[in-house]
Point group: C2
Chain length 413, copies 2
């Protein structure tokens, strides 16, 4: 089954937003073995949209539309498609009730044009919109399956995950025969990892192994096909066991998790609280921790000690340490971690000092990073890293290596 | 001139990356008055790429290719296009020398397949690659202009800005005749702003006015066409003056600036230092400040007081304040701002407390936000906001309204 994603929206052609919906859907479709061969973006224009659909009909068996389902005159995806496939638009009572309920919840009066959103293509399966108003829809005609999804990612993503994917698998007749699992690694390069499991990659068949490197991490996607659920699990478990027996120390989690998530989980499970002192990363580590709901259960608080004045006068780093070794040093990192842990009454203190760039600092090049870790009852430690990239990349990577060092300590405890 | 962007790369169809090149180029093309009508993404596959080019030739006068210019067998953009337009690939000596120099600089030996990158379509204008190896190229044939650019954004963006845009303007014969300027507003809704300048929008011709709302902000893009540079400036200045006389208090800057950037500039100019205490935003405000190089000139440091224990024991908020009014209150926000300013010895203290969600807190709904501001020598103030969105959106918007409040104070000083 060859798939094509048609995004409808002039805001994409004006460069106001990137087509992240196509990225999301392509990734989802790849996991269920659907090949996406084309992405097309077309504006809010009936003729050009028609033209795009006619082209897609000739080369694709599955056409996914994103956007153009809203209440305004600009929104014309289903109206245009209705002409092409010669189906009427009919009112979907359930969607209408849910739109009315949406307005009631928001304490606003529903304007007449919002009713338009409740109309769907006759005979299509309706995909409920749990996070917005416009419903999605799916239908198959002349061996082509059409799926229409709303444009906002906050509506499209949950709709596809909860309803769209299932409907598609059913239509493909391969419901529940394909499964995949992603193994995530940190602290090892892609080529080194691939070398360690070269023989497994060479003789892969079922499950298949797909490595991918991005943003300093490496992942392996294992994909298995089998009609029996238990057999699928068995095949995946067996391969996973073999892989982890070789590169287990670099493994940190499955699927969509992150190193920060895994660190947070372990802090929660072990009932430990963490505090942070950040120079280099300027609050980014703490921001990532607190973006997780419920962070207050394991995150205590912290300090952004951006200037030496704050490091010394407020965080209590000794002036001699900075005079002798510099603020960008293992010694300073250790004192920062130790002091923030004590001041915040936490179990673990972590610190970040280094050079984000673009200019060198204290004679050290951009990318030089020191992570300090202080654990209650232990001698503080510091780890030196040399990271590549621009200012933002170095800061982002520093946060990851920091979480990775904490994770290793927590696992060892 | 109707333009189409064809991105070549299977990584896009697998959902590994989003097509940010199309966003970048579309935005650039919009500013010079080129209408982009289609984006197409196709994999590293000769037949499907051919198919896409044949379709594009029928509907577009300007076809931009991104990606597929590298050294591997997968890279086949110019090879495929060479077949279609029946031009040879010829070695470009200058590009070859620059590729050799690139390897020398990296201290690596050039492998034979890298030579492939120095071949260009015969008779095309070569666009130098200042940040990588593969050169770009442009040529016009049968009234269609073709431009080929490398895939990595770090190569494509500078190449287009420095060489591609100029070549295109020359080919369009409208070199330097179009100019645009973006006015940015905050604290006013799109519909209210549009209403205030409705008559100007209705009778727009030259310059044109394009409003856009995104992420809590509204922008107006003014675009003028005229062969005389002074006349262009005069026309823009006149319209800008008229607009600002009506909605000036909501205006904060031009083009690609942000509220945080404007606040930073003003802090620097006025030689004031800021410190922050964050609960709700968990470090995001400070992270955004420190992502600006040179932030240490005007940013002192701060505290992430995520728990009440830290707010009271460390930041010095009075226990009675929290017991009486709650941590999510104007009173707490004012004390947080005042205390962090004093402790960090800064001129301005700002604080963020509120409910990011998903659950209510202290009987207050997600989106309830208090911004405290304390300025040396003045009584602290607090501002209440009710923001919409999910946890991340609320936090991001809170940072913006915080910077907006500081900006207003600095302007009034």
């Amino acid at each position: 089954m060859n798939a094509e994603i048609i995004a409808v929206g002039s805001e994409l052609l004006l460069g106001q937003i990137a087509n992240t919906n196509a990225k999301f859907l392509s990734k989802e479709l790849a996991t269920i073995g659907v090949n996406v061969y084309f992405h097309t973006v077309v504006g809010d224009n009936r003729n050009r949209l028609k033209n795009a659909v006619e082209i897609a009909k000739k080369r694709s068996q599955f056409i996914l539309f994103t956007g153009g389902l809203g209440p305004t005159k600009d929104d014309l995806t289903k109206e245009t498609l209705a002409e092409i496939v010669q189906r009427d638009l009919v009112m979907d009572e359930e969607s209408f009730q849910s739109i009315k309920a949406f307005f009631k919840k928001m304490n606003r009066t529903m304007t007449e044009n919002n009713k338009k959103q409740a109309y769907v293509l006759a005979g299509s399966e309706v995909l409920p919109n749990d996070t917005g108003m416009a419903p999605g829809m799916v239908f198959t005609q002349d061996d082509i399956t059409y799926m229409l999804l709303p444009g906002p990612p906050s509506e499209l993503e949950p709709m596809f995950k909860k309803y769209g994917k299932r409907s598609l698998l059913k239509r493909l007749g391969k419901c529940e025969t394909i499964e995949s699992k992603v193994l995530r690694f940190f602290g090892i390069g892609e080529s080194t990892l691939e070398k360690e499991i070269e023989d497994l990659i060479d003789r892969q068949s079922n499950p298949t192994i797909a490595p991918l490197a991005s943003d300093g991490e490496v992942t392996l996607r294992l994909t298995v096909k089998h009609s029996d659920k238990r057999k699928r699990k068995e095949l995946i478990d067996q391969l996973e066991g073999e892989i982890l027996s070789r590169v287990g120390p670099y493994f940190y989690g499955y699927d969509e998790t992150t190193i920060i998530d895994e660190m947070a989980k372990l802090l929660q499970v072990k009932s430990k609280r963490i505090a942070a002192a950040e120079s280099l990363t300027g609050g980014l580590f703490q921001e990532e921790l607190t973006s997780i709901p419920g962070a207050s259960h394991w995150f205590q608080g912290g300090i952004v000690s951006y200037t030496n004045e704050v490091k010394i006068g407020f965080l209590g780093v000794q002036k001699e340490t900075i005079d002798t070794f510099g603020a960008v040093s293992k010694q300073c990192a250790m004192e920062m971690a130790e002091n923030v842990r004590k001041k915040m009454k936490a179990h673990i203190g972590i610190s970040f000092t280094g050079v984000a760039g673009p200019s060198p600092l204290e004679g050290k090049n951009p990318g030089t990073v020191y992570i300090g870790i202080s654990i209650d009852g232990k001698t503080p430690e510091a780890f030196e890293y040399h990271l590549f990239g621009n200012r933002q990349t170095i800061r982002r990577r520093a946060v990851k290596v920091g979480a990775w060092e904490v994770l290793k300590q927590l696992k060892a405890e």
